[in-house]
């Protein structure tokens, strides 16, 4: 097992503590934002756990968990929690319905893809992020050394493709950009917007820094996912670990009361 493949174990531990902490806050405050963050973090943790597991052994249902929760849904559910803090409730309820229906639709597509998984290409020696997708090679492009290839028809053309677990053109892969765009927009956009509001009003320095950290954490995983899409899957686990650490610190910092909220003497009116 490479060093890279040990990173998901760390991420899983951090996400477990983080998820419990957020759900505990939800039970105390009953704020739906905490519920959606908790669900999103649980999905993130499940994805990290699946990566850790797949570094040791193959199980197609663990792969199901990794792709559906880790790659497709978690950013959107996390971002939806932020939306609960920023937008009028009536709108958020409508979007919640869409998010739930969309998630069920993606789960159904993933279930349909399960019998078509090319399990023969799985190896414990490579991170799952480097072997999940089948990639069509462009004209003149050669397959990496040792890669398994297949001749297939894709979008009406005969192509050579590097084999991956999910076959070329699997519909579930088309759903991930929707969820990730929504997740990026709400989670990162929401954190940047909140940080800007506090910064402009010159109040709550802890919330400014916390939102910057949350945005940076969410961007770390967004950036790593994009690199994975581009064929550089080796950075995904590092991105996840960074993301888990930065977001955890950010959330804790945002929840922490400022020291001077307790003991700053105010001028006494005459």
């Amino acid at each position: 097992m490479s060093f890279n493949q040990t990173l998901p174990f760390l991420s899983t531990l951090i996400m477990l503590g983080f998820t419990v902490w957020v759900f505990e806050r939800y039970l105390r405050r009953r704020n739906p934002a905490f519920l959606f963050w908790g669900i999103g973090l649980a999905m993130f943790g499940a994805g990290s756990f699946a990566e850790a597991y797949l570094a040791l052994a193959w199980n197609k249902w663990i792969f199901f968990v990794w792709y559906l929760f880790g790659a497709a849904l978690n950013a959107a559910w996390l971002g939806h929690g932020t939306l609960y803090l920023l937008v009028r409730k009536r709108w958020v309820h409508a979007i919640t319905t869409l998010l739930i229906l969309g998630s069920l639709f993606a789960a159904n597509l993933m279930l349909q893809a399960m019998p078509k998984l090319d399990e023969a290409v799985f190896t414990k020696d490579k991170p799952i992020s480097e072997q999940y997708g089948t990639k069509a090679l462009a004209e003149g492009e050669t397959a990496p050394a040792g890669a398994l290839t297949v001749e297939t028809t894709y979008r009406g053309k005969e192509v050579t493709a590097v084999r991956g677990l999910l076959p070329l053109g699997t519909p579930v892969r088309l759903t991930t950009p929707f969820f990730n765009i929504y997740g990026l927009l709400t989670l990162v956009g929401g954190a940047i917007y909140s940080a800007y509001l506090f910064w402009r009003k010159r109040v709550m320095p802890n919330r400014v820094v916390a939102n910057v950290l949350i945005a940076a954490g969410a961007l770390a995983i967004g950036f790593a996912s994009t690199l994975t899409r581009l064929g550089y899957g080796e950075y995904l686990y590092l991105g996840e670990l960074l993301s888990a650490i930065l977001m955890f610190i950010g959330f804790r910092l945002a929840a922490r009361p400022q020291p001077d909220e307790v003991s700053v003497p105010q001028p006494v009116p005459a």
Partner: protein, 89 residues
């Protein structure tokens, strides 16, 4: 039936007796003496403020927000490109 005037007189008597009782027990004095320290007690400042002349808040935070905003926009455009088939994978 008691007259309204009798009721008023009765209530005024109760009030003055109570005042006399409190003065006798020095209760009002005690309350007055407590007002000043209570007012002088520290009150919660609900909104702490961003320190002035801080490099973190004057330089780093705005720069980080702009850079992250640009990266977010780039990632969203990339994902949209994949979705629309402009970027092939």
């Amino acid at each position: 039936m008691p007259k309204m005037a009798d009721i008023y007189i009765y209530l005024i008597k109760i009030f003055t007796n109570s005042l006399a009782y409190l003065h006798k027990k020095e209760t009002i004095g005690q309350i007055k003496n407590h007002e000043a320290p209570m007012a002088a007690q520290p009150q919660a400042n609900r909104k702490s403020h961003i320190p002035k002349d801080s490099v973190l808040f004057e330089k780093i935070v705005p720069l980080a927000l702009i850079v992250m905003g640009v990266i977010t926009l780039g990632l969203i455009l990339f994902a949209a490109g994949v979705l629309l088939g402009i970027i092939q994978f």
